[in-house]
Symmetry: C2
Subunit: 202 residues, 2 copies
DNA sequence: GTCTATATCCAGATAGAC
DNA sequence: GTCTATCTGGATATAGAC
């Protein structure tokens, strides 16, 4: 590939990213069905027809975003598991990082909203549903393993690890929805209150 | 109004209820935009045209359902507050009843899903948004008052009552979404784990 | 009250000029 | 690569017969 071909490829990728960024914003705010392809094009400041030079359909844009959401989320989960610290500390760090991300980073909040919608809706396209089914267990499994390890060393409270892991993600997803409902100035519950659900002390 | 006029009115109301029940099911499962008026008619086993003899538009059906959701929820909240028991006990009962309702009663779960979607989406019709803005604070206020009373008598943990109330509803809404994602056979976290977020002991 | 048929509109996707 | 114009399908809502 020559110099200019490379540059063209880079520009093409940038354009794709730009479209995806706009689409993430709109899909998170309105959902798949209520987001019009024309809205995405307008907000991205390109003609509607041009959008189809970068993506073959609305569903494919959506799929791409969901794929990205799971990539980030699952990579972060596995990264957390590998960190060199005791399990109880991992739970605390994860809660702090997730709540901070949800509060301060708009795209983070949008990704959580997106997956929550897509996972809960029967209107989600089949291709996306298949992806979700393949990926959605990872965060639960990781958190259950961390909790189990924490119970062995006494830093995490007793209780079924799977159920506690469910509770962990229920909290995070609930916070994301809450933020979407009440706006960025919402009153986040203190992390300390969340931590005592899981940790024996502190 | 004569006898038969009354009977006709009753039949008309029943028909309306039947349509609303179907609409609740579909809106909760797919959201407003992805639910087609034709789907509602088909599932209610009536012609699409006939539906418009009972409701003037899709948005009005949606509005009606959201109104019903808030009526039930806010009535339940105010009823809870009036119960003759100590505040800590009210928190425990509320959690137990809500989790049980979410787990066992499909329509309860659907109502929570519906309001969660409608509140979080910018695509929600203006009329519905106005209703939501007028009603949504009630459950938070009620719970904050109960928590404040519980802190005075020592049964509820310390912490900002508003923030704890947010946490309470974040949990409930999170559970509703979780159930929608994983189906009725989902692993509900034990109520005991939720209770210790709020109560000093037990 | 209930249906079938249809008007109308809107949105996703394509064609083709530049 | 980018645009404008357009095709096409589908969905809301209405008309009108029974």
């Amino acid at each position: 590939m020559g110099r200019s071909a490379e540059r063209n490829q880079r520009m093409r990728d940038e354009r794709r990213e730009q479209i995806l960024a706009v689409a993430l914003e709109l899909f998170a705010a309105r959902g798949l069905a209520a987001t019009k392809i024309g809205d995405i094009a307008r907000r991205a400041r390109i003609a509607q027809g041009l959008l189809y030079h970068y993506f073959p359909s609305k569903d494919v844009i959506y799929l791409e975003l969901i794929r990205g959401a799971f990539e980030r989320m699952n990579a972060a989960a596995r990264g957390l598991e590998k960190l060199p610290m005791p399990p109880g500390e991992k739970v605390r760090r994860a809660l702090e990082a997730l709540v901070a991300g949800l509060t301060e980073n708009d795209d983070t909040a949008r990704y959580y909203l997106l997956t929550a919608q897509a996972s809960a809706s029967e209107a989600t396209p089949r291709t996306v549903q298949a992806l979700i089914r393949a990926e959605r267990a990872v965060p639960y499994e990781v958190m259950a393993r961390i909790i189990r390890a924490g119970q062995r060393d006494g830093s995490v409270r007793e209780g079924d690890p799977e159920e506690l892991a469910v509770l962990f993600w229920v909290l995070i997803r609930g916070l994301a929805i809450h933020r979407a409902t009440w706006g960025p100035g919402f009153r986040a519950p203190p992390v300390s209150a969340l931590i005592r659900v899981f940790l024996s002390e502190g």
